[in-house]
């Protein structure tokens, strides 16, 4: 009994730090999250970037996106880690941090039924990453498959700034 008590107390002692580690971690992207996200950013030009920790081209693009966010404070930058098994919040957070995206609105697929999550976002999307969706102030969505050219993002951002004047 002593051993069980000790084990339980040790578990209790480690819990607060384990839970605290979750702070600042990407939010779980679940069924319905996409509509909430669209709703929350309605009226704001928003860049939504889908990526994953095992995707080679994503590793190249992510820091460029960090630079874009710094240069364009008027654009809401959202990242969604869309790898199929989402149980790597640490690796995800660490890559976001080093890419300068720690302060972006970061999500991670939190439902093993990824087909359903993708269907809610775009029924035609089969899971290829990276992928970027540019949501204009008026809700118009432009999808860029594969790595985005920063020049194209800048151009889109300029049209959004012009639309406010």
């Amino acid at each position: 009994m002593k051993r069980h008590l000790l084990a339980a107390l040790m578990l209790l002692a480690t819990l607060p730090s384990a839970l605290a580690a979750g702070e600042g971690a990407p939010k779980p992207f679940e069924r319905g999250s996409w509509q909430k996200l669209l709703h929350a950013h309605a009226g704001h030009p928003t860049l939504v970037h889908f990526w994953g920790v095992t995707c080679g081209p994503c590793k190249v693009e992510l820091p460029q996106l960090g630079g874009f966010m710094k240069d364009h404070p008027g654009i809401d930058v959202v990242t969604i880690s869309a790898d199929l098994v989402p149980n790597l919040p640490e690796a995800t957070r660490s890559m976001l941090n080093s890419a300068g995206l720690a302060s972006a609105e970061n999500w991670i697929f939190g439902d093993g039924f990824a087909e359903r999550l993708r269907f809610e976002i775009d029924p035609a999307w089969q899971g290829d990453i990276p992928r970027t969706m540019l949501i204009a102030r008026d809700g118009t969505i432009t999808t860029i498959e594969g790595s985005a050219e920063i020049a194209d993002l800048n151009k889109w951002s300029d049209t959004q700034a012009a639309a406010t004047r």
Partner: protein, 408 residues
């Protein structure tokens, strides 16, 4: 009666739940977040299951569950299975990419060759490991790397040729660093291969069949009527176009000419995570299915080649485009060809089937043969030369192994 020990546990559990109300929720959502139904090593908890028939008609499964690879066999076409045997012992970071899975092949003696990938480091560099069993699957050698090279390797495929040699092919990043040192841009990965004359105990030195192929899709491997390996892979053609290519090997150590399967014109700097399928019918016809999102066509397609992969028929679209058709598989079985793929209608994933009795010239109307309402593995087709079967792992409904009837 509650013992003293249990009482303490209950009290502590209650205290923990009161102190950390999110704990129970966190544990539940962890399960929800997973592709697998549970976290043990048993078949029910598997996220990926790969079937293979032995020449003697025994069905073998290799699966990924609880962070381990296990196998079991069935003498009654999947109705009952032997006690599982765990192939891996160490806690490995198994490659969980959408197109990764353990592979196995069984020779005429009943010896088993098995291969799988792991993530070797924090940067998700892969490593292909192989092992074998020479005692009918009761035990496996400790897994070892297929090549001495230490660059990233993934997406292996293995098979026994008619002489009993194991042929292995995989994607390998060994040419990346030298190219970058020369100041050159390096795209994708090399298609590398090796063979084993001792049932997978040792493999020959790795050779390259093609460089700069797409690095994140599974490979399709089959043997032609003369026993030569044939491999379909997503290539990177000029301008970053990730369309499919095919190569027929001259022998186990010599690659052949690379031909293009179709001109889909999918120019994308991304990981499609969606590889092709290949089968070769008794007539010698190559049958290929694949996914593309190209400028020329989008969705799933089928084409066949009657000249050893040099030219292919016009791509035939498969499935309903508004139902996200994905993961196509084609197999030549005793009753003709069968093709299976997934569709998703917003709620339910269904497995659709088409058959052909004229070597792919015409196909039946699609029929739904299984469905599920949670995550699932790719649908795989396998044949024991008497019948063709669907093998499909689902999170909600467990493992399906079902005979495919004749014409649906």
């Amino acid at each position: 009666m509650i013992s003293c020990k249990s009482a303490v546990r209950i009290v502590l559990a209650t205290a923990m739940l009161a102190a950390y109300p999110n704990l129970a929720k966190a544990q539940m959502s962890h399960q929800h977040a997973s592709e697998a139904a549970c976290e043990e090593t048993v078949l029910r908890c598997a996220s990926k299951v790969t079937p293979a028939f032995a020449p003697d008609g025994t069905l073998w499964l290799a699966w990924m569950a609880g962070g381990q690879i296990s196998v079991a066999s069935s003498m009654d076409q999947g109705k009952s299975f032997s006690a599982p045997v765990q192939v891996t012992r160490d806690r490995l970071n198994l490659d969980w990419g959408p197109d990764a899975r353990p592979k196995l092949a069984i020779d005429a003696k009943g010896d088993i060759a098995l291969a799988f990938s792991i993530f070797r480091d924090q940067a998700f560099n892969g490593q292909v490991l192989t092992t074998r069993s020479t005692d009918g699957g009761h035990s496996f050698d400790p897994p070892k790397p297929i090549t001495a090279n230490n660059e990233s390797q993934r997406f292996e495929a293995i098979g026994f040729d008619p002489t009993g040699a194991v042929f292995a092919v995989w994607l390998d990043k060994r040419n990346r660093a030298p190219a970058q040192q020369r100041g050159e841009k390096y795209d994708g990965a090399g298609l590398f291969f090796a063979s084993s004359k001792d049932g997978g105990a040792t493999y020959s030195d790795a050779r390259m069949a093609a460089d700069n192929t797409c690095e994140c899709c599974r490979l399709a491997l089959a043997f032609d009527g003369s026993g030569h390996p044939v491999v379909v892979f997503r290539n990177i053609f000029d301008g970053g176009v990730r369309d499919h290519a095919i190569v027929t090997f001259t022998d186990l150590a010599t690659s052949g000419e690379v031909h293009r399967v179709s001109r889909d014109d999918w120019q994308i700097a991304a990981c499609p995570h969606h590889g092709p399928s290949l089968t070769i019918s008794p007539a010698g016809t190559y049958h290929v299915t694949w996914y593309t999102n190209g400028k020329a066509r989008k969705g799933l397609f089928y084409a066949r080649s009657r000249d050893g992969g040099k030219t292919f028929s016009d791509p035939l679209p498969i499935g309903q485009l508004n139902h996200s058709p994905s993961r196509p598989q084609v197999i030549a079985g005793p009753q003709g060809l069968a093709m299976a793929w997934k569709e998703f209608d917003g709620q339910k994933t269904s497995i659709n089937l088409m058959t052909s009795h004229d070597d792919g010239a015409t196909w039946s109307k699609p029929a739904v043969i299984a469905d599920t309402t949670d995550s699932s593995d790719h649908p795989l087709l396998v044949t024991d030369r008497r019948q063709t079967y669907l093998s499909w792992m689902t999170k909600a409904d467990g493992y399906h192994f079902q005979a495919i009837e004749g014409e649906p």
